[in-house]
């Protein structure tokens, strides 16, 4: 039994198509980077962390507001640089329904307090002592910023130092 | 027990040396071409030669077993042990091939290289070392021994490929081929040079201690066993009366290793020039007469067959078992560690070799060159990757 021209064409096309699909998927998966959890469009994992005074902050309590979630450390230079911008922008947008939660990666209270005092930060600063929130958000490089909308969805993930303009833009974006 | 082990190895070395002589004699005694129709008793010399080879092999097995008993673990855990074990597999593979093809020429060359390998391995620290936790597993035996067996079989293809080239490359006039072949032989001389120079200085117990500044600005100590031609960054000689280096190396390089490599090349080059000067011929030319009695098609078949036999064993040992063990010990079956990558490179190379042989155009000389390159890759993995490119996997003996 020999293949008719048409049959042969169909079989070959199907096989090639499948192969092309596999290759394309592999390349796509590789190019989209290491983050396969917690990407833009995903719901933001809920968490609860305490600040330096022992007050608890739970992310899901902020439904209805936009959240500017920033992960930082005092030893991270770009984090230091962007803090003043975030504080300034926060003061502006606080009344427009945007909250800032700054998650410290787990340094000592003293170090964090010194930092907060030095920069006069007015937004909630919580401490992820166990590192669980960093795991949940797949944090690797610092600083890392997530924009969460009023429905609890991540609309943007930004890695690296923010400029003052960007901070403003971001806050504007998650304004409910 | 450990001493017995060393003695057995030494005895094997001597026996192989004698066997080489008999293989040489066997070649001379043959009247026609060597091809596979030697299945009759063969000549007296040849029989003595293979008998001695088997004896040497058994002595080496004896070394292996006694060392296993002495150390409590399979003796394949450091550079010396592995290289020596590789030589055992190499000779073992040869014995099997000998009974298939009865080639005394193959014997001559194989044992010579086997001696070189044993000598090279012996230059490394021979102390019995205990196993670090990562090596405490049955897989040490399974993976390392199978991989070495595969490499030993593949190495036979190198020998027959080399003999092929020595026989077939026209030595009448200089050409690119004579140059490349000579380069391969030169490298063998360099290894010999390394063995001689290390042997001499180790024999005299030469030792020189240097204090130096590493790349983090910390003070460190390096102990040299060869006179220092090059020294480490910011060196300060601690041992009195020892040679002071001519040049200082940046801290990123391991000065002691560079020094050893330098010495190897110097000794090797001197040795090579001496040979050229005395013989007035290229080494390829000198060795040529030894290969005249060997049928080149048979050499080609031996090359191909050893790759065909060795490739599955190598795949199994160096890739499959390696991946299984890596998964168990390091939680990931593949990590792109330099040694893993070079095992992959070796595997891909021999896969390419087998595929190229589908075309008749690649039989014969091209195949021989490929067999030589393949062995070079294996040796690169053994020497460079183990010693120079340190990684999770290295036996790096400083």
């Amino acid at each position: 039994m020999t293949l008719t021209k048409k049959k042969r064409f169909v079989i070959r096309s199907v096989i090639l198509a499948l192969l092309a699909l596999a290759v394309a998927y592999t390349l796509y998966a590789n190019l989209k980077g290491d983050r396969d959890l917690v990407r833009e469009g995903d719901p933001a994992p809920d968490f609860v962390l305490k600040d330096l005074n022992g007050n608890s902050y739970r992310l899901s309590d902020y439904r209805g507001k936009g959240v500017f979630l920033n992960f930082w450390g005092t030893y991270c230079k770009p984090c230091k640089k962007e803090m003043p911008y975030i504080d300034r922008a926060y003061r502006k947008y606080k009344d427009r329904g945007v909250e800032v939660i700054a998650v410290n990666v787990g340094e000592t209270d003293m170090t964090i307090q010194n930092f907060v005092d030095k920069y006069g930060l007015s937004f909630p600063v919580v401490v992820d002592r166990e590192g669980e929130v960093q795991d949940a958000y797949d944090i690797f490089p610092l600083p890392a910023t997530f924009l969460i909308d009023a429905d609890g969805k991540i609309v943007k993930y930004y890695e690296g130092e923010l400029t003052e303009d960007l901070v403003e833009q971001f806050m504007e974006r998650v304004k409910p | 027990m450990a001493q017995l082990s060393s003695n057995l190895l030494f005895a094997a070395f001597v026996v192989y040396l004698i066997a080489i002589g008999f293989f040489g004699g066997s070649i001379r005694q043959k009247k026609g071409l060597e091809d596979q129709y030697q299945e009759q008793k063969g000549n007296v010399s040849g029989n003595i030669a293979i008998g001695l080879t088997i004896l040497g092999f058994l002595l080496q097995i004896g070394y292996f077993i006694t060392r296993w008993i002495a150390s409590g673990h399979a003796p394949v855990s450091n550079m010396f042990e592995f290289v020596t074990f590789f030589s055992i597999m190499f000779v073992g593979a040869f014995i099997i091939i000998y009974y298939l093809y009865r080639s005394a020429t193959l014997g001559l060359f194989t044992l010579s290289i086997a001696l070189l390998i044993i000598a090279y391995g012996s230059m490394f620290p021979r102390d019995i070392t205990p196993l670090i936790p990562a090596l405490q597993s049955h897989w040490l035996v399974i993976h390392v021994m199978t991989a070495a067996a595969g490499e030993g079989i593949l190495a036979i293809s190198f020998i027959s490929g080399l003999i092929y080239l020595i026989k077939m490359v026209d030595q009448e006039k200089r050409s690119r081929k004579t140059a490349w072949l000579e380069l391969v032989l030169y490298f063998l001389v360099v290894v010999l040079g390394y063995v001689l120079i290390s042997g001499v200085f180790q024999g005299t117990g030469y030792q020189a201690e240097f204090e130096w500044i590493d790349k983090n600005g910390q003070t460190a100590v390096q102990e040299y066993h060869l006179p220092a031609l090059v020294g480490p960054n910011g060196w300060q000689l601690q041992t009195e009366g020892r040679m002071e280096p001519f040049a200082e190396l940046p801290p990123i390089l391991n000065a002691k290793k560079v020094n050893t490599v330098l010495w190897s090349f110097i000794a090797g080059t001197v040795l090579y020039l001496l040979i050229r000067f005395i013989a007035r011929k290229r080494i390829g030319e000198i060795l040529h007469p030894l290969t005249k009695k060997m049928n080149e098609d048979l050499l080609d078949e031996i090359s191909y067959r050893s790759v065909l036999i060795g490739f599955p064993v190598f795949s199994l040992g160096a890739l499959v078992f390696a991946m299984i063990w890596a998964q168990i010990a390091w939680s990931r079956f593949w990590g792109w560690d330099p040694k893993e990558v070079w095992a992959l490179v070796t595997w891909l190379f021999y896969a390419a070799f087998l595929h190229l042989r589908i075309s008749r155009g690649w039989h014969g000389e091209k195949s021989a060159w490929l067999a030589v390159i393949g062995f070079a890759i294996i040796m690169f993995n053994l020497v460079f990757v183990n010693l120079v490119i340190a990684g999770l996997h290295s036996y790096a003996a400083p």
Binding site: T2, K5, R8, F9, I15, L16, V23, Y25, T26, L27, D36, L37, P45, D46, F47, V48, R58, T74, Y75, E107, T108, M110, T111, N114, E130, G131, E132, V133, D135 | K31, G32, Q36, Y37, Q40, S71, I128, T129, P130, I132, P133, Q136, W139, E301, P312, S315, V320, M323, A329, W330, S331, R332, V341, W342, L344, L348, A352, H355, I358, S359, G391
Partner: protein, 553 residues
């Protein structure tokens, strides 16, 4: 193109070179050859026959062995390049990648980084190479195995004369009476050598090892399955790879398990070889120093009774106790936790004393817990020490100000303010390991280091890998195929009556010498001409005289 009907009656697919059944040459150009190309039994390899559409052209491209070898070689070279300098993944996390290559390796490093080689094995083009190997595997195999299988199935015993005389091993002019006389003997000898013997009209065909022809295709299938397994790792959920650093006494959620599982580190133990007990290693241990014999983490595995959000501690119930060692991971659910590394003697607390520099008199000691340093430590009446700044991993910043590299207490440093009755405004002292600075000039008091407490951290790796079994199956099939194809040969011997002569032809896919030897043995004592290698000139391969000793070796 049309199907071709052979004179023997068999209808062949278009493009067939040798009739599938009798082997007659159907393509004129082949008749000129002395020896036939038997690699694919003369079947119409689809790709060589049809070349019209784009689909065909792509198919033909990937079905070429030359292309496959090229891809293999390129992959091989690319892989080697990635080993010249360390890959990005091996660098410590705190380092800036680009700077590292430039500062450590200079120009070579800059070039390496610029070309993207620092992350070679994860780059899109390397993946593309591997993917192309996969594509080539599929198409090469399909293109050849289907026709080959059909041809070997359809072959007849009696072959066309043109086929027989163009086999590589061939002899003619045999005496028919000799064949008749030893017919049964020949069959028996062949059978003894594991040949399957078929007869047709007094013609014999002996075949063995056909299964080894499929070896390459089986191993290709194995590789394809393996590559599919590799590809599946990208699918979210199939693969988890996390690391957990946990110190003694701590209970932490196991990352990657969504807080379902917790681990408590009871103790981390390191043992070194004892030169007294293990005498065999005495010499080595004396020269090289201590060598680690074993390290393990004694843990308890807990399961969370109810789901909890990050940052919350749920109620835990114990699952089991285990000692995690290298080569002996903790396994539960689909997860495995491996012992990968450890940090010994990390400083957890430091005890200092406030003392008068001149007299050395101490006014009290205080203990600083490096995780929870206090702002102030009261010592005696009027004596206290305040910590103004704490740098866990001290480095001098570029601006000359002290700062910290990370949050890990690798190199603790403090700025202390010593408050004493006679110095109520306090004196400032900067204290680091082996460093004591007094920024305000000569102090009267100093902080003396008294003692340190350490703790051990265990480094664990957490894995979940649903693709492992696929990779294992692929690997197994690959090994079967490679053994199947390498260690056996496919051999066929035809002994046929042609024009009142006996012709003997033989074919194998490899190891021609061995086949010749075997045939010579089979024909021993029988006066039929031994097949000669038609590809050899000068006929050094004349077997005839050798076995009966008439030709000297």
């Amino acid at each position: 193109m049309n199907q071709v009907k052979c004179e023997c009656g068999h209808v062949n697919p278009p493009g067939t070179i040798l009739c599938e059944s009798c082997g007659k040459i159907l393509v004129e150009s082949e008749e000129k050859k002395k020896v036939l190309d038997m690699r694919y039994e003369g079947t119409a390899r689809r790709s060589q026959t049809y070349n019209r559409t784009l689909v065909d052209k792509i198919w033909n491209f990937f079905s070429s062995v030359k292309v496959a070898v090229t891809i293999i070689v390129v992959t091989l070279i690319a892989s080697a390049i990635g080993t010249f300098l360390p890959q990005e993944s091996t660098l410590p996390l705190s380092v800036s990648v680009k700077e590292y290559y430039e500062s450590e390796y200079g120009f070579a490093g800059r070039l390496f980084y610029a070309l993207g080689f620092h992350n070679l094995y994860g780059s899109w083009w390397y993946m593309l190479l591997i993917a192309l190997i996969g594509v080539s595997l599929v198409i090469c195999s399909l293109d050849r195995v289907v026709p080959l299988y059909k041809a070997l199935k359809k072959q007849r015993v009696t072959r066309h004369a043109g086929f027989l005389k163009r086999q590589r091993l061939f002899s003619s002019g045999g005496d028919i009476k000799e064949l008749d006389a030893h017919y049964e003997l020949l069959k028996e000898r062949l059978r003894k050598r594991h040949y399957k013997v078929l007869e047709e009209n007094g013609n014999l065909m002996a075949e063995k090892g056909r299964f080894s022809r499929w070896g390459p295709y089986v191993n290709h299938l194995g590789l394809i399955i393996f590559l599919i397994g590799v590809m599946l790792r990208f699918v979210p959920g199939m693969y988890v790879d996390e690391s957990l650093t946990i110190k003694e006494g701590e209970t932490k959620a196991i990352p990657g398990t969504n807080k379902q599982y917790y681990l408590k580190n009871h103790a981390f133990i390191v043992e070194t070889y004892d030169p007294e007990k293990d005498k065999a290693f005495e010499k080595t241990l004396k020269e090289r120093g201590p060598i680690v014999k074993n390290y393990q983490t004694n843990v308890t595995l807990y399961k969370a009774e109810s789901p909890a959000v990050a940052g919350e501690q749920p109620k835990l119930e114990k699952v089991k106790d285990y000692q995690i060692r290298v080569n002996q991971p903790l396994k539960f659910d689909h997860y495995s936790v491996y012992q990968s590394g450890f940090l010994l003697n990390e400083i957890s607390a430091m005890t200092f004393a406030l003392a008068d520099k001149k007299t050395g008199k101490e006014f009290g000691t205080f203990r600083v817990d490096l995780e929870r340093p206090q702002k102030k430590y009261d010592l005696q009446e009027g004596y206290s020490v305040e910590i103004l700044s704490y740098f866990p991993d001290f480095v001098m910043g570029e601006d000359g100000e002290p700062t910290s590299k990370s949050q890990k207490p690798n190199n603790p440093a403090f700025v202390f303010k010593m408050v004493t009755p006679d110095k109520p405004d306090g004196e400032i002292s900067f204290v680091a390991i082996q460093q004591n600075l007094e920024p305000d000039g000569n102090n009267q008091y100093q902080i003396k280091f008294k003692s340190v407490e350490t703790v051990n951290y265990s480094g664990l790796t957490v894995r979940k890998d649903h693709t492992l079994w696929i990779l294992a199956v692929g690997g197994l099939i690959f090994m079967i195929g490679v053994i199947q194809g390498s260690y056996w040969n496919h051999r066929r011997i035809w002994i046929q009556r042609v024009n009142s002569e006996v012709w003997i032809s033989a074919h194998t896919n490899k190891n021609w010498f061995s086949l010749q030897k075997e045939i010579a043995r089979i024909l021993e004592g029988i006066r039929l001409p031994v097949p000669q290698d038609q590809l050899k000139d000068g006929n050094k391969r004349n077997l005839e005289g050798v076995l009966d000793g008439t030709v000297e070796q």
